[in-house]
């Protein structure tokens, strides 16, 4: 009796369409949000700024990507480059003397425009070609950043983020940075959730599922694919900027390399394509699983249970991460979101075994 479905009736279209129609889900969301807001009170600074904060920002980035790959069905293998564009342009806009708030929007727009250019090249052909075009984008953007000192920050190729204030709050303390990341994650989450229940999201899904049927009800599929690219790249760009200002504070091109793009795709897939909660679960899993595994193996080595070279230890994250992707694709293609859903369904009807959904 964790979830009480009986007695839940909707009498208005507004409530029938609310984000979490089941009261228990709604309570869980509020509790999670309260926990997140209170995190600086009960969490050590170390955990706050080296686990919670990056997890939130990567989740926001994964959400941006799941909007494109899961909801609109367009593949992107260069999303780290989109984030890089956002990160670098935000820093340069702030350095040029503009306020941080403007810089964030500028970062999103720059990333969106450049991202659309590459998307437009391949949107008329098969998805596989989009993979290749976005791959090429990754390499081109990397190269431009590395080879144009004006962008990368000169010879040492690291660019410090300037001190900024956001809505009059100086972004210096760990708590302020954390709240910045939390705010962005909440915004992206609400946006993606709302897109999924409005006409924009429906049109995207329609184009993904059956573009000919979509076109006969008036959906211009090229336009909507491009809009998906624009929106998702905008969000990715801002996520890159937030990552730079709130987490890295000194950016280098390697932070946004090809491997990071693959990592983002893995977050989306492991979490479950198109799922919002999946983006959070996937980001957490992909960030933590390799660390966890390395620690387990290292611990076992110290205990003398098995002998591993430091070299092997260093490569465990990579192997774990490849194996994870393979494992999820083979055994749970719908990802962690599906696992969560199964658990929720179990409790939904608890203590019984079956019910109508």
């Amino acid at each position: 009796m964790f979830y009480r479905l009986s007695g839940v009736h909707h009498t208005r279209y507004e409530t029938a369409r609310r984000l979490w129609p089941v009261p228990t889900d709604r309570w869980q969301v509020w509790i999670l949000l309260a926990l997140a807001v209170a995190a600086p009170l009960y969490m050590s600074d170390l955990y706050l700024s080296s686990y919670m904060l990056p997890w939130l920002v990567w989740s926001a980035a994964a959400l941006s990507l799941t909007l494109l790959m899961g909801i609109a069905g367009q593949l992107h293998f260069g999303f780290a480059a989109v984030m890089a564009i956002g990160a670098y342009s935000s820093i340069h806009i702030v350095r040029a003397g503009w306020p941080f708030e403007i810089a964030l929007i500028g970062a999103g727009l720059t990333a969106a425009f450049i991202g659309c250019l590459f998307g437009a090249a391949a949107l008329r052909v098969k998805g596989l070609y989009l993979v290749m075009a976005t791959l090429a984008m990754q390499y081109l953007v990397d190269w431009v950043i590395i080879n144009v000192p004006a962008i990368s920050g000169g010879a040492q190729a690291t660019l410090q983020t300037p001190d900024v204030t956001f809505l009059f709050v100086p972004m210096q303390s760990d708590a302020a940075l954390y709240y910045g990341a939390l705010l962005w994650a909440v915004i992206v989450t609400l946006l993606v959730l709302n897109i999924k229940r409005t006409s924009f999201g429906r049109a995207l899904v329609a184009v993904r599922d059956k573009d000919y049927a979509a076109s006969i009800i008036g959906v211009n599929s090229f336009k909507y694919k491009l809009l998906a690219f624009f929106t998702s790249s905008f969000l990715g760009g801002v996520s890159g900027a937030v990552l730079a200002f709130c987490y890295y504070q000194a950016v280098t091109p390697e932070q946004f390399g090809f491997n990071v793009s693959i990592q983002l795709v893995a977050m989306v897939l492991v979490g479950g394509l198109g799922s919002v909660i999946g983006a959070y679960l996937g980001a957490g899993f992909v960030l933590l699983a390799p660390i966890f595994l390395t620690n387990v193996v290292a611990y076992a080595a110290i205990q003398g249970w098995l002998s591993v070279s430091t070299n092997l230890l260093a490569h465990i994250p990579l192997m774990a991460y490849g194996a994870l992707i393979i494992g999820f694709l083979l055994f749970e293609p719908l990802g962690l979101a599906k696992i969560y859903d199964n658990i929720r369904k179990y409790f939904l009807v608890w203590p019984f075994r079956h019910s109508r959904s």
Binding site: L191, T198, R202, A206, K210, A213, I216, G218, N220
Partner: protein
């Protein structure tokens, strides 16, 4: 826009003029002439592979005709893309049900309202102040169609789990949601039993009356065609071989030959 066409004078709303469509070497439409009048139910019949679906695809912009013209309400539409045809007030259903799997019945029908909505990411972001109003307004319209076609019981089900007859009805609902003036139904009763067929006929007639529609109906069930079509055209091998009231057309010797002699011709 050329509105010189005089066919509009005798109440013709959709006219095909010498429409030709080839697929490689195959000529699927060999110069079709057709005039469908405002407010009528026009039947399009013919043996399998005679070009009925191809003609509909030409009208709706999927396979633009290589020669000839298609005029709707006085304007040529044969160069338009399908999504542009939709905004001119033409809606259709498909021979093989083309619903969006995984979406609910309600969402499928809501998608039919696409041309009246202003989808945008910003509106979604500010849902409570912006998109919600639009969603609810269109939801009301959709509920009327759900009432009309008696789909209340499956409203929240995913479309792929409901029976085929129901799916065809949902597709009709989606087409109606676009408030078309011209509706094309490609075999809406294929694979249905007698009872389902009768329901469907009822719904088509109700919809026509409620929305003041002109309907182009492709159907193999001759009983249905004779019962509800004001006029019919018979296609065979990409050519129109007869036109007129259903009773007359069926008796036409060319039509009899096309249906009965089909096996002989094919040899």
């Amino acid at each position: 826009m050329d509105t010189t066409d005089q066919t509009t004078h005798d109440g013709v709303t959709l006219a095909c003029e010498q429409v030709v469509r080839r697929f490689g070497g195959l000529k699927a439409l060999k110069g079709i002439d057709l005039g469908i009048r405002q407010g009528e139910i026009f039947g399009l019949v013919g043996p399998n592979g005679s070009g009925k679906t191809t003609l509909v695809n030409a009208v709706t912009g999927f396979y633009p005709p290589q020669e000839g013209r298609i005029v709707f309400e006085g304007a040529a539409i044969n160069h338009l893309k399908p999504y542009q045809v939709a905004s001119r007030g033409i809606a259709r259903t498909f021979q093989n049900v083309a619903l969006f799997k995984g979406m609910s019945v309600l969402d499928n029908i809501l998608l039919g309202r696409h041309i009246f909505m202003r989808p945008s990411a910003l509106a979604s972001l500010f849902y409570w102040w912006w998109a919600q109003k639009e969603e609810v307004a269109h939801r009301r319209q959709v509920e009327e169609i759900i009432d009309l076609l008696q789909l209340e019981s499956v409203r929240d089900e995913p479309v792929d789990v409901i029976p085929l007859g129901m799916q065809k009805r949902v597709e009709l609902a989606r087409a109606l949601a676009a408030e078309p003036r011209f509706l094309i139904l490609d075999e809406p009763m294929a694979g249905m039993n007698q009872e389902e067929k009768e329901y469907m006929v009822r719904f088509i007639l109700d919809a026509q009356e409620a929305l003041n529609l002109t309907i182009l109906l492709i159907e193999h069930h001759m009983d249905v065609v004779t019962a509800i079509c004001d006029r019919v055209a018979v296609l065979n091998n990409g050519e129109k071989i007869a036109e007129g009231t259903a009773r007359d057309a069926i008796k036409d010797p060319a039509v009899v030959a096309a249906y009965i002699g089909k096996s002989n011709d094919a040899a």
